[in-house]
Every structure is written in C-alpha cells, then in structure tokens.
C-alpha cells in the first residue's frame, strides 16, 4: 500500500473539520423590517437547540469533498464491468443540457402554458421510448427501475381488478433480480419462483404447469440475468396470455436488444426501461435514475397520473382525468433532469446509433467471454451483453470469487457483479458495455487471467487483496453487529 498517496489517508468527517463560529456562505438578509421570531411563531413551536450542523468555511467544504471524492472508482477513471448495471460512458453534453435555464429552474406547478418546452421534451422522449420498446403508451414518472417494476406489478393488479379479480400470484424465474420478488410482495401478490432449465432459460413446460387462473402474470427479464435471450419467448407469451395473464419485462438489459428486436413484438405487455443504464444517464453514486414504464394499448388507462397528452393544436397538457389510473408514484412528474439527459443522448444516437450500440455491447461481451472462457467457467455459456462466469474452480486453491473481485481493484478496474445470479456458484457477472475499447477489454482480461494464475501460485496474496485502495478489506460483519450510522458530537 502506498502510504504517500493522499487518497490513502483517513479523511476527517466534515463534522470533525468544524469549528464554532466559522461560516461557509453569506445568506441574503431580508430587506424588510425583521420582527422577533416569537412574535411570528408560537414560542412552544420554536427550537431551543439548533441542529448541530458543521461550521466550516467554503474553501474547506471544497477541499473536504474533493479529498473524499478521490477515493471513488468511477467510469471516467476506469473500466466498470458490473453485470446488469450497464456502466457505459456518460456523454458530458448531457450534463450541460440538463442545466439549461428554462429546464433546470422550472417549478413543477408552473402553468402548462409556461412549460411547453419541457412537456414537448417529455412527449418526444416518450415517443422514442415507445418506438424502441414496441409499445403504445408510456409513463415517465417512476423514479428508478425498482419503482418502474412496482408500477408494472400494480398494472397487473389494476388490469385484473378491472376484469373482476386481481388474482393472487406472480411468477418469476429463479434468475430474477432481487427487486422482482420484493416488488411482487409490495404489490400484494404471492411470489411463485420457477427454476431455469439447463440452458439457463425458462422452460415452457414448467411455466405451463405453474400457470392458472389465480396467476396474474409473469415477470421475465430478457435477456435474462445470465445474458441469455429467452428464445422460447413466443411460446411463453402465448402460454401466459392463454391463461389470462400479463407478461412483464424487467428492461434492465435492454442495451442488448435495442434496435435488434422489441419487447412489444416479442409479446410483452409491459416493460420498464432503466434510463440510467441503456440511455447513459449517470449513476450518481446510486441514483437518481429513472424507470419509465411502457405498455400495450389495453393497459394505457391504468398508467400513473397524470398522463402527458398532445392537444389538437400541437400544444401539450397533463391529463388528470383518468378514473382507472393506479394513481401517483412520485410527488411530481418523475426525475425530469434524468429525462433531459436521456433525450439528449437518444437524439445524438439517432435511428442508426441505437442498433449499433446494441451490436457493439454484444460484440464486446463476446470478446471478453472468448478471452476468459477457457480459464473461468461459463456454466451457461456466453450471454448477449453480459456473461456469468463461475469462480468455483478457484476453490481448490482456497480462493473465492470475492477475492478475485477485491484483487481486481488493485488493477484500477471495478469488480464485476459477484454472487449474482444465485443459480451460478461463485458467480462473476461481467457486462463490458459498448463504450470500452479493445485495449481496455484486453487490460481487463489480462488482469483476470493474471489473478487466476496468482490464485494457483500464491493464494494468500489474492485472499489479502486489495492492497492499493484507499482502505484495505473492510470488516462488514463488525458494521452489522454494532451499527454506527451517524456522527455524534459528544
């Protein structure tokens, strides 16, 4: 570990930089005659002890957050092959457009006559997303993929309730994202988990056996979390629809399919789209994202309130008169700033750039799979945009997937997603995305192969990784045992 690297020194908390009486910024003084607070507000409502916020000068704030920022890995610094997360490059122009006056300073309750530009942007983005997904109607309101899933599950409920019975169960495969089962429960359904077949795909026969008139539908990621296209999707859609159910696509992996095929054409009724994955809006250290939900015509009446509409004169309005809508899921109209970024990106990609992106994402993954596949096992074979390797062969040396992940950090490369999906032992899930060069992919593959060699020759070295990061391996069990989740001054 290089002690000289300033990134490796422990940074004080902003609270620990605080000194009584220091001020960071001048707040405008009211230019009207101020009155004593206790004349304006009841004394019983006033706070006696102010919140113990830090007291630091502005320059210290800048130094503090700059210093701690340097301890982050990020896409602008290096490769980020996190499976299912689509960590592609975030074009810088998006940050500029999202901050344009006239977009960034609109209050959500401005009259629609004063926000026509914002509404036009949302309308056109919705049209483009409908076209890419092969759907008829869309809500841009969900603030994240998980909230999009939740809207999807509530659409199941609203659709079936309108037909007289909400039904009881939703089927999901065992390879599904963890949010799927959690979402199903929040929507008031029971989870039926279906095993995958030897190819890592859904088995239509098993599905048929699980379907019934108490099943509201199926949530099926495509390509699934193994990166495999559900090639029986036509049969699957037919079975679900014949049983009166709906077919939902978790669109987390749309980067593999866009411009190649469309969820709507595959028989899906509902899809949520992660703009922070496929459409390049930055991840922000864990949000904000956006999870628009697109649907077939028969589900449009149930979409969240309000629905954006175009008037006959070409102007735009918000339609609140939707008696069968599931209601609102966000305080306002969704993560508008994220929508601006996705819109900018889609306009730059254009018609041709969309399929080109998917093809390169799949090419990059096939290349990584080809280079690593002889060393790291691929129990279910190569996927489209991502592949799931197994680190189980390293167990003979006492080395686990977790150790490989930590050792990769020493190469300036983020670890892949590990231990997911659950159906692969010691899973290593890699998604390179289309924006990485061959040289960067080679660097990653070389590092992975070197680590496999290190594991055989000197397993303890790999088990002790990482060595060059701002902190060494952290004790997560300790954090769980004695949760310390906040600073206290005393």
């Amino acid at each position: 570990m290089t002690e000289k690297d300033p990134r490796n020194k422990t940074s004080p908390l902003i609270f620990e930089r605080s000194q009584p009486g220091r001020r960071g910024t001048a707040v405008p003084e009211p230019d009207v005659q101020a009155r004593p607070l206790d004349q304006l507000l009841p004394a019983s409502a006033l706070r006696v002890t102010p919140p113990a916020l830090p007291e630091v000068p502005e320059h210290d704030v800048v130094r503090h957050f700059t210093e701690i920022s340097l301890k982050n890995h990020h896409v602008d610094r290096g490769f980020y092959p996190l499976g299912s997360c689509t960590m592609k490059y975030n074009p810088k122009v998006n940050e500029m457009t999202a901050r344009l006056p006239g977009l960034v300073d609109l209050h959500p309750f401005q009259p629609v006559s004063a926000v026509q530009g914002a509404l036009k942007l949302m309308w056109e983005l919705g049209e483009m997303l409908n076209e890419v997904s092969g759907m008829d109607a869309i809500s841009l309101q969900p603030a994240a993929g998980a909230q999009g899933e939740f809207v999807g599950a509530l659409l199941f409920r609203a659709y079936h309730t309108a037909k007289g019975d909400p039904r009881k169960k939703i089927i999901i495969p065992d390879s599904a994202h963890g949010t799927n089962p959690a979402t199903v429960i929040m929507a008031g359904y029971e989870v039926v988990t279906l095993g995958s077949n030897a190819e890592g795909r859904m088995d239509p026969a098993a599905l048929e056996a699980a379907l019934g008139d108490d099943v509201a539908g199926l949530m099926l990621t495509n390509p699934n979390t193994l990166g495999k296209f559900e090639s029986e999707i036509e049969t699957i859609a037919e079975l679900v629809h014949d049983a009166g159910g709906l077919l939902y696509m978790d669109g987390a992996n749309l980067n593999a399919l866009m411009g190649i095929t469309r969820p709507g054409d595959l028989g899906y009724d509902i899809v949520h789209i992660n703009l922070h994955k496929t459409f390049s809006t930055p991840h922000g250290g864990g949000g904000p994202g956006a999870g628009p939900v697109a649907v077939k015509e028969q589900l449009a009446p149930f979409l969240p309130l309000p629905i954006l509409m175009q008037n006959e004169d070409g102007s735009y309005a918000l339609d609140w008169e939707r008696p069968t809508s599931i209601g609102k899921v966000h305080g306002f109209w969704g993560n508008f700033g994220v929508l601006v970024r996705a819109y900018t990106y889609m306009r730059m990609l254009g018609e041709g750039g969309i399929a080109e992106t998917a093809k390169a994402a799949v090419l990059n993954n096939a290349y990584v799979s080809a280079r690593l596949g002889d060393t790291y096992e691929l129990p279910y074979g190569r996927g489209l945009h991502e592949s799931v390797f197994s680190g189980a062969f390293l167990k003979q040396h006492g080395v686990r997937t977790l150790d490989v992940a930590k050792r990769l950090l020493d190469f300036g490369i983020h670890a892949p997603t590990v231990y997911f999906p659950l159906i692969v032992a010691e899973a290593i899930m890699c998604e390179p995305t289309e924006t990485e060069t061959k040289q960067e992919l080679d660097r990653f593959c070389d590092a992975m192969l070197q680590i496999a060699e290190e594991a055989a020759k000197d397993p303890e070295f790999v088990q002790g990784a990482p060595y060059t990061t701002p902190v060494r391996r952290l004790d997560e069990a300790r954090a769980n045992r004695q949760p310390d989740v906040r600073f206290r001054a005393d």
Partner: protein
C-alpha cells in the same frame, strides 16, 4: 452517432478471436422472425452541437418566472459550490458503492448525510435517502405496519400534502392497509379531538405534516401523545428548512420523520430528481427501508465505511425484504450534504428566518392592500399561506405568468382536500421586497 469506439480493424480482430464472421451471428438465439424488420421510427442522429441547439430551443419554450410557488417544493438559492462539487466525475459517474474499498468517497458522504438528517430531525438514525418526500411517507406507513405486526391501520391528517396521500394510496393498492383521514379545524390545522377518536388499538401509524399543506404549524407533541396513548407510532412529515428554527420531530416525540429534501440545494428541475429524507428511532433501524451506511475498520484498523444491515434488503432477502427500493437518490443526497455543510449551522437558521420574515411581511401587506383574505387567519405559519381568491386561482396564475410572476399554486388542482379553490403562496430567502411589490401588483388586479 453512437459512442462505440471501435475502428473497422478492431472489429475484425475481435470477431476473429470470438470465432465468428459478423455480429449477426452473436444474435443467433433471437429467432429470425422476432427481429425488427426495417428501421426504427426515430429521428436521424444529430451532432453534439445540433443536440445543444435542439435543447436550447426546448428550454426557450418554457418561461422562467419569479417563483412564489411551493406546495412542498421551494425556490431556494444553492451556493455555486454545490453544483461544482456534484459535477466531479468521481461522484456523478460512480455506481452504487458495492465495492466499499473503492467507494469511500460516496460512502463517507452518505454517512455525513445520514448524520445531518439525524441532526435536523432530532432522531437517532437515518437512511441514505428515498426517491422523494411522497414515497418516503408511503414507505414510513409501510414501516409502521411492519413494526406493529398485528396493527395495520394508518390515520392520516387531511392537512398533509394531497399528492403525498395519492402516492400513499398507490403504494397501498396491494397491501390494503385501512387508511382513515383525520379532519381539520376551521383554523386549518388537524382536529386533535377527532384524531384521538380515530386512533385505536388497530392503528399502526399516525401521519401529521408540519408546516402542513397550507403552511401552518401543527402540534406534533399533541399528535405524538395521541398516537402513543394508543400504542401507535407518529410519522412526522416536515420541511427541512423549517427545522433550523422549529422544534424537531424527535424532540416532539415523533417516531419516524420524513421530508422532501429538495429545498436543501437541489434545483427545481420541473419536479425531479429530488430527495426523500427518512429518519427513525434507533430501536427501529432494522425495519427501516433503503440503503444505510455504517462505520467499520479495515484489516489494518483504519476507519472505513460500508453499506450495512443489508440483510433487510431485497438482493439478499428477496420476497422478505423491508422494501423493494435498491438505490437512493445518491447525487441529490450529496448535494444536500454539501449544501448543509456550506450554509452550516448559522446559515440554515438565516435561510429559515429570512423565508419566514419575508413571508410575514408579504402576508401583512397582501391583507392590508389587496382586499384578498387569508384562508386561515388564526393559525401561525412558517413560509407559506393560503389566500381566498375572487376569480379562479388558476386564471390568476395564468395571467400573472404573462407578467413573469409565478404567483403561487392553485388549490383547485389538488384532490382530497376540503378546500375548493384558493392560492397557496410561498417564500424563500431569494424573495426580496421588490419581488413582493410585483406580487402585490398582480394580486391587486383581482
């Protein structure tokens, strides 16, 4: 153009290593008949410069107005340092901090954020944030139900933000908790006698907002007493700016506090992205939804931060998780942390005081000079109040917008309130005496 970096030579080399002759072969698992035929109906690619022009035109088709609108969303000044720092690539192009050893910047900032939310709310623990104030309130109701096991009724004051109630109703479609609405008094605040009658041994949580939707101060202490007497929890919905000068929910006895964090340095951005604040008592930490960051040590004994208590979360617990939320509003939480660090203890009080001073000044002059009557003259307010209007408030707002003023929010646009119409007017430290004169001009014409 796409952002694909490969030259033709790269492509060929890669295809050779893979052992195929074209990308088409890689898609062999997708049956031919399911492939897209023809082109997507999407406009052709534009250059970066053209994209900027298109966006500038869209921006120009919206109007920038002097903002007196609130209803949960306020036009405060964010010091330049906030946007400057959140634009660092290290923060905004990072993912959720799954690999803690290379995510200490994000993790430490979340720990600081949680600490600040605890300070503001006077509660013991806070999470890494929720999508917004509305979904935070819905998640708080679900958390109260999870804590109380055999109880599932929620009693919600009618004076809470009606959009929050709509979101609660949506979140509740599947869970079907009984939700009962406590009425208000003629003074615009929760009718505590009526509240007491609704809260019983079936009640898991009582939800009261202060300042309430009409800007008025509610009595959290009395509401907490009513909730606790019946064995229920009090969920307080607050305005984070007000907490610099108003008694904290923790002090007043609330068990869970939630808020819309947008006023803390986050731009209006037509309603999103925003930030849900969520805090609770220590004993309920394991039922709290969302990400939580905790302190630990590395193997050399150095302080470090990790995502903790993840056994509550869906990627481990799946259908037994406390919630399906699997991100936070990371960058917005960072913005709030930088904002609170920069304005600091003294500055947040100044922002709160300036907002309340200009609001009271404007109130007195509106009442004295425009002939418009306040809707609730008997109740103290923080920075926002409701006026009765002679013509529909919607029309008034439309006319004012023509003159560059966003005069407020029309109450007629909200469902679930027992007021047909009126104008809700809000103030921040950005509003000056001159701005108030403009507002008065607009209102005098009514």
């Amino acid at each position: 153009m796409s952002f694909v970096p490969h030259s033709e030579a790269d492509r060929q080399k890669m295809l050779r290593v893979i052992g195929v002759s074209s990308e088409e072969e890689l898609f062999a698992d997708i049956p031919e008949k399911l492939r897209l035929k023809g082109q997507l109906d999407i406009p052709p690619a534009v250059s970066e410069w053209e994209a900027v022009r298109i966006l500038q035109e869209l921006a120009a088709a919206s109007r920038q107005l002097i903002c007196f609108a609130g209803a949960g969303y306020y036009d405060h000044h964010a010091p330049a340092v906030v946007d400057h720092l959140i634009r660092r690539s290290e923060f905004y192009t990072a993912y959720t901090p799954y690999q803690a050893e290379v995510s200490q910047g994000t993790l430490q900032s979340i720990y600081e954020f949680q600490s600040m939310v605890c300070e503001l709310t006077g509660l013991d623990v806070a999470n890494a944030s929720m999508y917004d104030g509305a979904s935070a309130m819905a998640e708080a109701a679900m958390m109260a139900r999870a804590i109380q096991k055999k109880r599932d009724k929620i009693v919600l004051s009618i004076t809470a933000n009606p959009h929050y109630r709509q979101v609660l109703d949506t979140y509740n479609l599947g869970l079907q908790m009984p939700v009962e609405i406590a009425p208000r008094t003629g003074s615009g605040v929760t009718d505590l006698d009526a509240l007491k009658k609704l809260v019983d041994d079936e009640t898991a949580g009582v939800i009261v907002q202060s300042p309430n939707f009409y800007g008025l101060i509610e009595d959290f202490e009395a509401a907490a007493g009513i909730a606790h007497d019946a064995g229920a929890l009090l969920i307080a919905v607050v305005d984070p700016i007000s907490l610099a000068i108003l008694k904290s929910p923790g002090e007043a006895g609330a068990d869970i506090a939630v808020a819309e964090g947008q006023p803390l340095g986050i731009p209006l951005s037509y309603g999103g992205p925003v930030l849900g604040l969520f805090a609770a008592r220590q004993k309920h930490i394991r039922q709290m939804p969302g990400r939580i960051v905790g302190v630990t040590e590395d193997l050399e004994g150095k302080r470090g931060f990790v995502l903790t208590l993840q056994t509550r979360e869906q990627h481990i617990r799946r259908e037994k998780a406390t919630s399906n939320i699997c991100t936070n509003q990371g960058l917005c939480a960072l913005a709030a942390t930088i904002y609170l660090s920069t304005v600091g203890r003294d500055g947040l009080r100044r922002v709160a005081e300036a907002s309340t001073q200009i609001a009271h000044y404007a109130y007195d002059r509106i009442v004295a000079e425009t002939g418009l009557e306040p809707m609730f003259p008997d109740s103290p307010f923080f920075r926002e109040f409701a006026l009765k209007t002679k013509s529909p408030a919607r029309d008034l707002i439309r006319r004012a917008a023509e003159r560059g003023v966003l005069a407020g929010v029309a109450l007629s646009r909200f469902p679930h309130i027992d007021v047909d119409d009126g104008l809700l007017v809000a103030f921040t430290e950005k509003r000056s005496k001159d701005d108030v004169e403009l507002l008065l001009d607009v209102l005098k014409e009514e």
